[in-house]
């Protein structure tokens, strides 16, 4: 399973750039954000769209997936798809659209530790997060929540 990654790491193909973007599951198109970001490096946009869309069929359409793409100097590329950002999960769980403009002073809403735990479990399934303990993930999520003005309480 990790063979592909290790092999590439060993091969150390020269990297041209690392591109991060958010792409709706199943809906990558040769349009912004994919177009300008990948087109600039002459990467095969259509192949990325087809590939990304096929691989994200298991997600609800348009879920904003975080994509990190590594463009190599030989015009090939790899990409990793991660679940949406923690802030997105927090907003969905809290039923809000925008974070508090004054976190720490006026809280937007509250979530329970249970919510945090559920999000941590989801995040632990992300590539490269398996090594992180649930506790570490939870702490990080609580930190993000606080910076958004979302209060975390034990129970509601």
């Amino acid at each position: 399973m990790m063979a592909a990654t290790l092999k590439d790491a060993a091969a150390r193909k020269p990297v041209l750039a690392t591109i991060r973007l958010i792409v709706p599951a199943g809906a990558a198109r040769p349009a912004p954000p994919v177009g300008p970001a990948l087109g600039f490096y002459r990467l095969n946009l259509m192949a990325f769209c087809k590939d990304f869309n096929a691989r994200t069929q298991k997600y609800k359409a348009d879920t904003p997936m975080q994509v990190t793409l590594t463009a190599y100097k030989d015009s090939t590329f790899e990409f990793v798809v991660k679940s949406p950002s923690v802030s997105w999960f927090l907003k969905k769980a809290a039923g809000i659209e925008t974070a508090s403009s004054r976190p720490g002073h006026s809280n937007v809403s509250s979530l329970t530790l249970r919510h945090v735990y559920e999000i941590a479990k989801l995040k632990q399934a992300d590539p490269f997060c398996k090594h992180m303990s649930l506790e570490a993930l939870c702490k990080s999520i609580i930190g993000t929540a606080n910076s958004m003005g979302i209060e975390i309480v034990k129970d509601l």
Binding site: A27, M46, P64, P84, S109, K121, K130
Partner: protein, 406 residues
């Protein structure tokens, strides 16, 4: 309740996330890496949605309706509503439309966290040029792209403070045009030999073998330039089944490559249908590039719902596009000798009756755009309608074919 990321499909358990496929190289040109998900799936724990708005906030935030409103935050970041296939397809694509490109200097160590923060504060993409190349400099440049009209200043400062930077990064904004990257994208295409004596050649390229069957394609913004494994699998399928005189349906025609190929292989008529107006534009151009007449290859824009409407399609931006009269298409149901659908897993599953319904009894249907691991699901659904199912694979992609049960 936490958002269900996963499509509610045939799985008995309500899963909050599915595991990713294990990574494998697709081809030397296009490796990908997606690690497997965590051990097992989440228990189907349905949490009550408890959101209290503080008194000082707008009470609208407290309603559980908010959870249904979807990706408010990231929608702002990504303009997702503009990217939903139906709306952007309907709106057409404005190549002269501007976008903002912002070049930001920051410390190397801050690049990653700043990149992620920028994405949270309005950037649609953030690119870091390879760090190793920056030599011994402590600083690095990152480029972030914004939709035209976004408040870059507030985005960068919010991102910087959210990332914990103790300095204000210097940045420079420039305006790009969509056509810039479209033109660059076109340059990536090269002639591809799909099979012995069959080439797909981009419009501006020279056929390496003038004696071969050369399918000329101007890819534009549609899918099907010939190099993708799924296109090749479908072309191989056509080579195998087209004997001459067939009526072929290219379901999800994209550039029209499959329909055009079928005609070049001897089919009598190839019909191309797609939900994307860009595909209609592209396929219409490409059939002409290949010396074909629109009568040989009618192209229809269809709606995204399973059953195409029998009313004329109201979407018609340019006078050049044929006004779509789907009555002809409707009446062609059940008449095709060959149906090829190179799309995606979910539409293949949802539209199975539509796709198979176009084929005549005993007609041959091929579906692709699916990964090898997606084959079992497709086989399960399609075996209700097709006999003699065969699966071919290439570089991790698959094509499934069968004959329509009488």
């Amino acid at each position: 309740m936490l958002p269900s990321l996963v499509r509610a499909s045939h799985a008995p358990l309500r899963r909050l996330i599915s595991s990713f496929s294990s990574p494998r190289a697709l081809s030397p040109r296009l490796p990908y890496v997606i690690s497997s998900g965590g051990a097992g799936s989440l228990p189907p724990l349905i949490l009550p949605l408890c959101a209290f708005s503080s008194p000082s906030r707008d009470s609208a935030c407290g309603s559980s309706r908010g959870a249904q409103r979807g990706m408010g935050f990231c929608a702002r970041a990504v303009d997702v509503s503009d990217e939903a296939p139906s709306t952007s397809a309907a709106a057409g694509y404005d190549l002269s439309a501007p976008y903002l490109s912002v070049r930001i200097r920051c410390l190397k160590q801050d690049a990653e966290v700043l990149s992620e923060a920028l994405l949270c504060f309005g950037a649609t993409s953030v690119t870091v040029d390879d760090i190793a190349d920056a030599g011994n400099l402590d600083e690095i440049s990152i480029t972030s792209i914004y939709a035209d009209g976004e408040d870059v200043n507030s985005s960068v400062s919010s991102a910087a403070s959210s990332a914990g930077l103790n300095y204000s990064p210097v940045y420079e904004i420039s305006v790009g045009k969509q056509c810039d990257w479209v033109a660059t994208m076109q340059e990536t295409y090269e002639p591809t030999e799909v099979a012995d004596g069959l080439w797909v050649v981009p419009k501006w390229g020279t056929p390496p073998d003038p004696q071969a069957t050369n399918i000329i394609i101007n890819p534009g913004l549609a899918f099907g330039a010939g190099e993708h494994p799924t296109t090749k699998l479908c072309l191989h399928f056509l080579l195998e089944v087209i004997k001459g005189g067939e009526h072929v349906l290219d379901y999800g025609t994209g550039t029209g490559v499959l329909g055009i190929a079928a005609l070049k292989m001897g089919a009598a008529v190839a019909t191309g249908i797609d939900i994307d107006p860009q595909a209609i534009i592209s396929a219409s151009e490409n059939l002409l590039l290949n010396g074909l007449h629109p009568n040989q290859m009618p192209v229809y824009l269809v709606s995204t719902s399973a059953q195409p409407s029998s009313l004329p399609n109201p979407v018609d931006e340019s006078g050049e596009n044929k006004l779509i009269n789907n009555l002809d298409l409707e009446s062609s149901r059940g008449t095709y000798d060959v149906v090829a659908a190179n799309i995606l897993l979910n539409p293949l599953l949802e539209l199975v009756e539509d796709i198979v319904g176009y084929a005549k009894a005993g007609g041959i249907v091929a579906v692709s755009g699916i990964l090898v691991e997606q084959v079992p699901k497709v086989k399960q659904i399609y075996s209700t309608y097709l006999d003699s199912i065969l699966v071919s694979e290439m570089d991790g992609w698959a094509c499934l074919q069968g004959t329509r049960r009488v």
